[in-house]
Each structure stands twice: as structure tokens, then as C-alpha cells.
Amino acid sequence: MSTQYLPKPFAILESFSQYWAANTAAERAGCRLNANPQEREAFYNAVNPLLHEALAYLDNKAPRDFNEQEQCLMKMLLSFAHIALAIEVQGPDEDAQGTLRRHMTITRAVADL
């Protein structure tokens, strides 16, 4: 598979990058809010088996030294942090919980600096 946005070992996740590699924590929270249950589940199922491998891959460098593809992978993994909460913790309550979460505004995140 040819890769454009992600490091080669994670090319299998390429189709998710367009939507889920969001730039800021506020945008990633928005991705969670605006995805439907099928989209959330598909993303979770694709990334979950690769989470530890992907983090170990990225841990070889400090975040400030990431190239564009590594940054893209990092952003996807950060979106996974939000989606893991939706799937693993909120489960069937996720959509109802989302209506409450819409009133919270992320104004700053350490990953965005």
C-alpha cells in the first residue's frame, strides 16, 4: 500500500487520517462529537490493535522533532484517546453524553503548543 500521510508501518490506517488527524485538542474533541457510532467504532477497531506499537514507534523521537508523517500519526493517536473514552467508558451513553460535552470548550492543550 502506498502511503502519503502516515509512516509506512501504519499505512493500514491511511484512510482514517483525513478525518481523525485533527490539529488541536478542541478539533479532536469535535471529531468525537461529530462522528456517528459506526465511524467511531471503525476508527477504534482499526487503531486499538496498533496503539502500543505506534506509540513505541513515535517514542523514538521527542515530539518536537516529528516529521510531517509522524505528526499525522500522533494526531490520530490523540484522537484515539478521545474515541477510547467514547467506546470503552461511555459505551451506549456516548451520544447522550455528547450533548453535555458540547458545552465544554477546550481553550488550550499542551499537545497543541
Partner: protein, 396 residues
Amino acid sequence: MSSQTNKKATMPPEEELALGTDPIPAKPYYCPDFFALEREAIFKRTWLQVGHMSELPEAGSFIVREVDIANASILITRGKDDQVRAFHNVCTHRGTQLVSQKDGTAATFTCPYHAWTFTDKGDLRAAPDFERFYTDKSQCSLPKVSIAVCAQLIFINLDPTPTQSLQEYLGPLAAELETLTVAHATHFSEYVYEIDANWKLSYDNFQENYHLRFIHPRSGEAASGPDNPFGYPVKYGFEDPHRTQTIWHNPGFQPKPTQGFAMGKAVEFALASGVVNIENAKQYYALFPNFFALGSPTQPFTHCIMPIAPNKSRGVIRIYWAGEDQSATQRFSREYNTATAMDIHAEDRSVIEAGQRGLDSGALKHIHFQSQEVLCRHLYTQVERYVTAYQQEQSA
């Protein structure tokens, strides 16, 4: 339930603290006149937490904070001499708000109206055609606001001559705050919310655990369980006008896979940083009037509830971190734990607003606090004490 929790449940501390057990009047939670009294008696003369030193990283850094209840905008500067100062953000010519940015770096501040220019020490440095005024520059400095720092947290006091220093005000809690992550933090994440509710009603939600099992059935599993179905604290502490609780942890809590990973890593990173005092990990500090800090190394958050109107407030929640992200795993862990805290806080907001709608109707003369809502009772008694003292001063 543990014996300690049982003891708290059957031996409420109200009597020994002289807090009483009577119902609490409902009116102070919605009445505009009482809100106006709180403005003068509390918010214009106690220490208010408004920022963190990491927001002023170098000489020349500044931040601006709005204190809505006092209609005040506060300019906080770190001067070339490294001194941190606070001023009313008001040009002394004709009152124009001087700085419109929320933060930045500047050696001087120039009023957009007639270009009066002030130094970071608040002195008027230059004003066009100043010779035509009937005053001199020494009379035109920015109005100073009292400022002090504890645990890197910036506090201001709108009383020009505070009756207590910040250290005196915080008492023994000042030393405890210095052991928390916030005291060593260089970075933070932040989320905010607006809420149609009185500041006390909002604040009370976050200092009682009675609601956990009903409002946080999924996100609150770590804080309640079969041994302690309501997740009541292990211990309460009272350092008037402040209070603390020691949070109970459910020993049977089974974290979800990503949750366990992210929280475990957060503990690992916190311990490796060498700045976390794990002894205070379960301590939850409620500083009068409107500020919380949690000792947890995985979610070291602060929560400030700013009053805006009798039935409107703003919550500002920050998760503080020592050092920038060193690795992808650390970055992941921080994002996960911040999102977790936000999930929990989001679940509280709408039920607090529902409470305000009920109180606004005036249908209730009183509200009731049970023994494990003693921190809410304590807040009300402190508010009442400050308001009564103010009224007595005014009538003297």
C-alpha cells in the same frame, strides 16, 4: 464501607464544627440583592485565584483577567525586574480599557484612545501634549491591585489594603499546595464552560459525592463502589474559610484497557518527574471562595468558578503538567486524562442548571444538606459569616 467512611456517615462533624444541622435558606442561591452583598463582602476583598506563573514565562510577559462580578479587568505584568504586578486595566486619562489582548509580551502599554503610554510598573511614561493637563505624571499611574503567589498560582485581592496576606489567608494549606504538581507546572491544558447557575450552587456540586452514582454512572466508577456506594470521602478537613476532603478510591475498580494504560503512564511520568508528593494524591482542596485543586498526579486539575450574575457563572478547569511532552506516550497520556476529566465535568453542568431553574422559581424557602454534604454547608456558613461581617461594618 470502610470503618472510616462509616464513622463519617454516622458521626457528622457539623456539631463539633458548630455548623448546625438546620436547613439552609434558598434565597442566597438566586437573590440579586444577596449576590450584590457577596460582591462587596467576598469577591472585592478576599484573595481570588486568577492565573499561573507559567503564563508569565519571561520579563515583559503579561496577562489580562476579567473579574466579572466586580466589573474589573486586571492587567498582570512581569516586569524587567522580574517582579509580578497587577493593575486595573484602565487608562488613568478617561478610563478607557488599556489592553485588549488576553496575553502577550510588552514593555509598555499604550491606550488606543489618546496614546497615553504606561510602563510595566504601571507608571505613566508618556502622554501627547501632556503640558496642557492640570496634573503631573506621578498622579497618573495605573491603579494597583494586590497580588501574591502560592504554589505558582497567582492570586489577586481587589481590596487595596487586604486585611490578611495570602499566606495568612491560606494558613496551613499554603504549605500543602506547594507539594502539588501545580507548584512545579510549566504547562497546562484548559477547558471552560458557561453555566446558568449561581456560583455556590455550581461550586457545591463539586464538593459533594452524593450525586456520583446518579450523574457519573460510567465515568465515576473509580470513586464509588459496593463498599462505598455513594463514594463518600475518607476524611474531611476544615481550615476556615477553606475545606478539604480526602477522596475515597474504589479498590475494586477495573479500568478499561486504554484508561488503565493512560492512567498508569501518567503515574509513571509523575513519579519520574520527582516533583509529585504522592501523599497528597487523594487530597482535594476547596479554597474560599471559588477555587478547587486536586492532588492527583494523573489529573492534577484546578477548577475556578467565577460568578457572573446571580444565576450565571463560568468554570475554568486546568490540568497542570510539569515539563513539556517528552514522548508520544506522555502526550497521549496527558490528552487522555484531560479528556477524561472533561467527560466528568461535562456530566455535571446540566443537572446544576436544572437545580438553578428550580431555585429561581422561589418555590423553596430552604434546601437541605445531609451529613456528607457538610462541605456545602461549610461554604454557606462562610459566605454568611463574610456577608454578616460586611453588613455590620456598613451599619457601624
